[in-house]
């Protein structure tokens, strides 16, 4: 039997939490594609939000899970991937709603906002809840998808953020 594949990603703030979620998913019998980051070295959440969501919309993974401190940064990045439908949640019931009604394919949580057991409960419910296809739900999804603008050269482009990483290394961005 083929395992269901989950694509997961995080920023450097919550790598430890991501590891615990990933372990949990593997224990539950899922295959995990871990898109990084893999350590606590300062990096930038859009890199991992984009990678994680792209694995989902390409079909390599069934669902995505993204985490940063509050979940906002990485989820708003994931949401800019065409056909990603991202739910940022702090509760199981929201996750369930987003699957049932909007066929959400990426779930986001704040790794420093929500505790690890509640995160696991949220992710479990998200990936085990079926979308309920109705004309109303389909119409809502179509309406949401129609908000997307064109994304030239974005998808699968690993150099998409290079210009900013270069400026970052040159010290352009500083506190």
């Amino acid at each position: 039997m083929t395992k269901t594949v989950i694509s997961i990603g995080c920023d450097h703030i919550v790598t430890d939490i991501k590891e615990r979620v990933s372990e949990h998913l593997k224990e539950e019998g899922y295959e995990v594609i871990d898109n990084g980051t893999y350590d606590k070295l300062r990096t930038h959440y859009p890199i991992y939000g984009k990678k994680t969501a792209e694995k989902v919309v390409s079909g390599e993974a069934a669902f995505g899970v993204v985490l940063c401190g509050t979940g906002v940064g990485i989820s708003s990045s994931a949401a800019k991937v065409p056909n990603a439908r991202v739910a940022l949640v702090r509760d199981v019931s929201e996750a369930e709603y987003a699957r049932k009604t909007l066929n959400a394919n990426v779930v986001a949580v704040g790794g420093h906002i929500t505790g690890v057991d509640l995160i696991k409960a949220i992710v479990d419910k998200f990936i085990t809840t079926d979308y309920e296809e109705t004309p109303e739900h389909e119409a809502l999804i179509k309406k949401i998808n129609a908000l997307e603008g064109p994304k030239p050269e974005q998808t699968g482009n690993e150099h998409f953020f290079d210009e900013f990483e270069k400026k970052w290394e040159e010290g352009y961005y500083h506190d």
Partner: protein, 150 residues
Amino acid sequence: MKVIIGADKDGAKAKDELVLELKEEGYEILDLSKEGQDFVDVAVAVAKQTLKETNNGEDKSETAPRGIVIDKWGTDAFMAANKLKHVICANVSDEHSARMTRRHNGALMITLGTAVVGSELLKSCAKAYLEAPFDGGRHMVRIDMVNKMA
């Protein structure tokens, strides 16, 4: 500060209560709620108006307008709003996220869902978001990245 706000029918009551409190505290309110809007309509209306009044989100000053959407679930309006270019929207149900999403993400708007967030927590999240400054600095590189994607 100007607050651009909108609610669907499930968020209307909480929105009215919040607007009352915010007006008392001196906020200028632009309420875009209209009969018959679903959460996508409200999210888009608030997002587009807030983009317009902040030069596509570039104005992140302490007095820059911000958007608030209240509906049943929050996470659905969040899903819709973030599809728009230059929108960084946070679905919020705790005060710490509400504050940090302005400080670190410079969030243009937040969504709040009455199915999940109780009446007092909703107001305190909204205020935490409105009162927080944007930290800028290193956080700008991530926002520039998101904005290129959108």
